[in-house]
Symmetry: C2
Subunit: 147 residues, 2 copies
DNA sequence: GTCAGTGCAAAGCTTTTGCAGCGCG
DNA sequence: CGCGCTGCAAAAGCTTTGCACTGAC
């Protein structure tokens, strides 16, 4: 199932309004930018990109926007070695994981339904009420392997 | 296969010596403490515990020790939401993952060979030369679920 | 003696918080 | 025309680095 950025953006705006949030400047900029992304972005990257586009947005507002969005389940927060990255969340609950190149920092998404099933089972075996999981593969990407 | 803390400690000391490191104070304290642990500890927790034992060890030395140990593959570094945790690495390559309770912060280890196989396969499919992976389940532990 | 290793303090990063002002509804 | 949201700046964690000193080899 495909979930386009445009659709996500509309969905996010609707959810924000439904939660009683104003259609404000900084948060809207963050939503727009996230909707354009193929993969996850750090708060710093979001801030930098918005600055580059001449949107004078404070980094604090980026963090606040991401906090609200994550609270509404509209974005996923992914920890990748000390820094957090954020990406649009598919409302169907589907999600993917990431492989990160230790050479160039490139992030590649991947998914695996069987993996999800196994993670579910592992949580249940422990008696945990699991509501999420973080999974990151670390290694060298195809491009960096070649050189 | 079981890998006792005592044996790990001896192994770590031997590896450190082999790598040309001196048998110094702070690092030795860190190795001893880690060898006693069932699960992973943060640098801060290591520092606090050593202080409690009246070993006057600087937090910087703890980080430096952990850095050396991780470089030699003697400890695994696990990112758990903003802070790094460290635990002895089984030299056979076997390892486990963690479930973390969002209520009480308790960390529970678990392992699953089939999961490992799947992760391996996922990396290969991407063309990545995977040399490790981070996996953390987030949720509520059995004790906290009850209350 | 040498120099790896150390403790302390200061700096670096990411993230959070305090605050006065602006502007959406 | 109130109060939600904002930018800025300062503060709060976690981690790293600079530096002079100590002690293992």
């Amino acid at each position: 199932m495909e979930w386009s950025g445009i659709r996500w953006r509309a969905h996010a705006k609707a959810e924000l309004e439904r939660a009683g949030h104003r259609s404000a400047g900084a948060r809207e900029e963050v939503v727009t930018l996230l909707g354009e992304q193929a993969c996850c972005l750090s708060a710093q990257e979001i801030h930098d990109e918005l600055r580059r586009r001449e949107r004078r947005v404070g980094i604090a507002s980026v963090y606040r926007a991401l906090d609200v969005l994550a609270g509404l389940g509209l974005v996923h927060r992914i920890d990748v070695g000390g820094t957090a990255c954020y990406e649009p969340a598919d409302p169907s609950g589907e999600h993917h994981h990431h492989a990160i190149c230790s050479e160039c920092g490139r992030r590649a998404p991947f998914e695996d339904p069987e993996l999800e099933r196994l993670l579910d089972r592992a949580g249940r075996k422990l008696g945990y009420a699991v509501d999420g999981h973080d999974l990151v593969l670390r290694g060298t990407c195809p491009d960096c392997v070649r050189s």
